[in-house]
Symmetry: C2
DNA sequence: GCAATTCCTACCTTTTCAGTATGAATTAAA
DNA sequence: TTTAATTCATACTGAAAAGGTAGGAATTGC
């Protein structure tokens, strides 16, 4: 899993969508203003969110986006992996150029980084969009 | 905590040092060959490892580096934070430019990213250098 | 003295992030 | 039916950072 601000923006935008989900389609202009993210950038992000079926779009005036599923069913991990192209977790799998090219079984940190990745993933799997909007407070602990 | 290949290289190099710790000072040339990391890059990394008292150096011919502590006492987190300048966890604390500048308490993802950071940190706190060298196998789950 | 090493610092190249720019297609509403 | 609000699509750009090079100085065992 890759982690960038883009992923964070996506989460923010989705949370915004969840928060106002009863107002019909939410335009990116609205989100842009509320979350302070450039409109054009949001557009790019939403293209991907749509491709992954996390949102659906309504075109034309009064259009916008709506969540595909209820907020309590949307995992943060899905949002992030939708916009931050998965490949490369900062590991050594980058096809044999550098990294794990020593004969075999070398690269002593390989397993470690793999496990970290799983760790981060499972962290974001446990959190749902709903957890972010309710009282703006996270799951405790 | 920031995660880059540099941090991974540092861990690899330290693991190498642990593996050959009974051979006296290990030269960066050796590590460079075994781990396939450029010598000059290793030099930069080791300057920092030394600053953080993770290794000590022996100058001159037949010189090299040795671990400051036994491998079972060295946390991976210390290695990584030694070389990857801590600041910026990819969160919103970047002084009010963008990000958490909305009045107050906004930025719905703030807590989430904070918690992730703690998660990653505690992951690397639990793993010791020793865990990497023994059988090249990680602590089980 | 010489070769092997650490130390130091400046530079360079490539990639990626984050964001702009531009324009088209679609549609509600005036 | 025109206009304004929107999504859709794609190409470009600027800045920063990652990853690494280059060159030389200082130290020390042999």
């Amino acid at each position: 899993m890759k982690l960038t601000n883009k992923g964070r923006y996506a989460v923010m935008a989705m949370a915004d969508l969840a928060q106002f989900k009863d107002n019909g389609p939410i335009s990116l202009t609205d989100i842009s203003l509320r979350q302070n993210i450039s409109l054009a950038y949001l557009e790019q992000i939403f293209i991907k969110l749509k491709q992954e079926n996390l949102v659906k779009s309504v075109r034309g005036a009064k259009g916008g986006y709506v969540l595909e599923s209820p907020p309590e069913e949307i995992k943060i991990s899905n949002i992030i992996s939708a916009v931050d192209e998965k490949i490369k977790t900062l590991n050594c799998k980058k096809e044999s150029k550098k990294g794990c090219n020593n004969k075999s079984s070398k690269c002593i940190t390989h397993n470690l980084w793999d496990q970290l990745d799983q760790h981060i993933n499972s962290f974001f799997e446990k959190v749902k969009l709903q957890d972010l909007v309710k009282k703006n407070q996270m799951v405790d602990r």
